[in-house]
Structure formats: structure tokens, C-alpha cells
């Protein structure tokens, strides 16, 4: 939690901390992001290396790599997305429950990478909205961890209470997407 959200004097409040609901909700969400590794190609190996003992993604609370989209928060698209695979990724993205975020890991997921050919989707942001792009081919695990930290910062800035209480809270849809690089607009 950021210091500006907390005003705490133990002599006055005792064992109660008063803060904003947003701060608490975002704090909880960002420190236990459960990634869904959409491991497609070489970047998946660096993702596994980030999860292994040297770079240890579990320091950030993210070691629970759920392969089921229903149980995951953040889809890390790691590897080249082909047109054949595109429908699978979109369907899996739609099955994830809100709130959800997407990290496009690597050059191929961000923009198609060095595969400018007939079969490669030139960036996964053509079909799903992406929150953080990581460059590299493949990005080092440290770069991925940096991206996850940036994602945590982004989560920290969300207006969670507003989203939670909105009557018609809708997931990101086609009208929110611009062709090149859409971010979540909540």
C-alpha cells in the first residue's frame, strides 16, 4: 500500500488501519497475480526459467501458474502467435474471469517479431487487449520480472471499486480495441 493511502497512529486507532478500498483491493490483487502461461514457443522456456529457482517468480506471489483460464488472472502470451492459434488464444482470453490482464512477452507476441510471414499474427494485440509489452527475443527472465512489476504498478492504479460497483461492468470488447496496440481503458 502506498503511504499516502494510510493514516495510522497506533495510539489513536489501535489495531485498525483506515485506508481507501481501492488501495486494499489493488494491493491484494497485485501481490497475488496468478499467471496463465500461454506458452507457445521459445519464450515459454524463459517463462519456465523465471519460475525456476534462479529467478523465482514466486517472490512476487506469482508461482501459482494455473493452466486453467478460469483460475488465472494474467495471461502471459509467450511465443509466436499464428493465425491458427489465434482463435484458441481469444477463446481462452474470453474464458478468464474479470479482472484480467495480458502480458505480451517477447517480440513475436508484441508485434509478430522476426516472423513476417503468411502464417504469423503480427502481434497478439490484434485479438486481445494487452497491458504490458515485453521486448526481447526471448526477453531475459529479469525483463519478464520487470514487466510483472510494471503490471503490478498498473494494477495499483486501477479504479477497482468503481469497476466492482458498476452496474453494467463489461469486459473489454471489440469496440475497445484499436487495431494496433490496445490497452485496457478502465
Amino acid at each position: 500500500m502506498q503511504n499516502t493511502n494510510v493514516a495510522y497512529d497506533s495510539k489513536v486507532e489501535g489495531e485498525i488501519i483506515v485506508t481507501q478500498a481501492d488501495a486494499v483491493i489493488n494491493w491484494i490483487r497485485k501481490h497475488s497475480v496468478w499467471p496463465m502461461p500461454m506458452g507457445l514457443a521459445c519464450c515459454a522456456i524463459e517463462l519456465m526459467a523465471a519460475g525456476a529457482s534462479r529467478f523465482d517468480i514466486s517472490r512476487f506471489g506469482m508461482e501459482v501458474m494455473r493452466f486453467s483460464p478460469r483460475q488465472a488472472d494474467c495471461m502471459i502470451v509467450s511465443g509466436t502467435v499464428t493465425y491458427k492459434m489465434a482463435e484458441v488464444i481469444r477463446r481462452i482470453y474470453e474464458q478468464m474471469a474479470e479482472p484480467k490482464w495480458v502480458v505480451a512477452m517477447g517480440a513475436c507476441a508484441s508485434t509478430g517479431g522476426m516472423y513476417r510471414s503468411y502464417a504469423t499474427l503480427q502481434g497478439v494485440d490484434r485479438i486481445i487487449p494487452v497491458d504490458v509489452y515485453v521486448s526481447g527475443c526471448p526477453p531475459r527472465p529479469e525483463a519478464l520480472l520487470d514487466a510483472m512489476i510494471k503490471l503490478q504498478d498498473k494494477i495499483g492504479r486501477e479504479r477497482s471499486v468503481k469497476n466492482l460497483t458498476a452496474r453494467n461492468a463489461k469486459p473489454a470488447k471489440a469496440d475497445n480495441l484499436a487495431l494496433a496496440g490496445a490497452g485496457k481503458e478502465s
Binding site: E87, G112, S117, A180
Partner: protein
Amino acid sequence: MAESEFAQLKERFDYLSERQSADHLAVNCPANKLVEFCGALRDDLGYDLLVDVTAVDWDAQSPRFTGIYHLLSTTKHEYLRIAADCADDINPSLPSLCEVFAAANWHERETYDLMGIHYDGHPDLRRILMWDEYPYHPLRKDFPLAGIEVPLPADDVAEATGATVLPAPMMGGPFVSSADGPMSQTEPSARDESWTEQKEKPTD
């Protein structure tokens, strides 16, 4: 040496002719004798492992497509390349080797998918690398590297996102110079298409 091996093969199979090769023995075989030749190679001469099945598109030449097979003998440790020209340039076809080598199944499906060569007698000839409804054969020389616009294979995703299979933006690359011609024209330039998302492909 390769010459004597070829001579031995030629003695037995007189329809073969020798093919230029940088390394192993390579022979040309007419398409209608292919199954018989490969069967004999496998049973009598010990070439039991089908390593690779592929094809080359010679573009402006006729015959346009040549099927290439590589066999390996696990006992003699020798490779053999067999080239079989397809008779028809528009709808090329070759006999399938699935009866002789089980490995041919997937390799022929791939060659059909990418080159469009139809294998007669194949039990299940459908696309393997591209999706089933893809209308083109990508590895042919007249197909551009960037691809041609087709609808996405899944309708619901196409509707939800508005995405289609777009040609990849070549942006002026890949920068490769052509093999021959005057120096000024062999300067690296986009060999393929140079449109981008800002500068659209001119419709012709």
C-alpha cells in the same frame, strides 16, 4: 564410389537416371515407377528409413514440381535421394508411398499442404500445418511471403475482434539482393512487398 553404385542401380532399374548432387547418390525416377522402386529399395537394398519427403517448385520451368525423397539405410548408413517430376504443372500429383513407408503419411500431407501436390492413394490427404479451409498453397513461388488476405479460421473470433488474416507488413524488408544482374539492381531492396499499414498495398 557413387558412379559404380549408380551403375548397379541402373542395371536393375533401367528407368533411372543420375541426378546432380553435392553429396549423396541422387537419382531421377519416373513417377509411375516410384512405388515399385521404393519397395525394392526397402526390401532388397536395405534403405528402410524414409527420412524426408518434400518438393521443389521450379516456377517458370516445366515440369514445374519435383517431388524429392530421401532414404537412409540403417544398416549400410548411406543416404539416397530420389527425385520424381510431376507430370502435370497445374494439378501436380504423385503416387503415395504410404504403403511402403508409414512415415510418408505426414510428410505427404505436409507437402500437399504447402506445395499442393496431390498424392494418389494417400489414406487421409488433408492439410496439416495450415488450417483446413486455407485456400492457398503457401510454399509455391507465386504465393507472396507476406500472405494473401483471407478470413480468420474461426468466425466467432473474427466477429468479436474484427481481425482477419492480413498480409504481414513487410515494411521494405527483408533486405536481400538478387543473385544476378548489374550491381545497381542487386542492391538490397525489398524483394517482396513493401507496403505498410500507413502506405497500403496498391490494388491492381
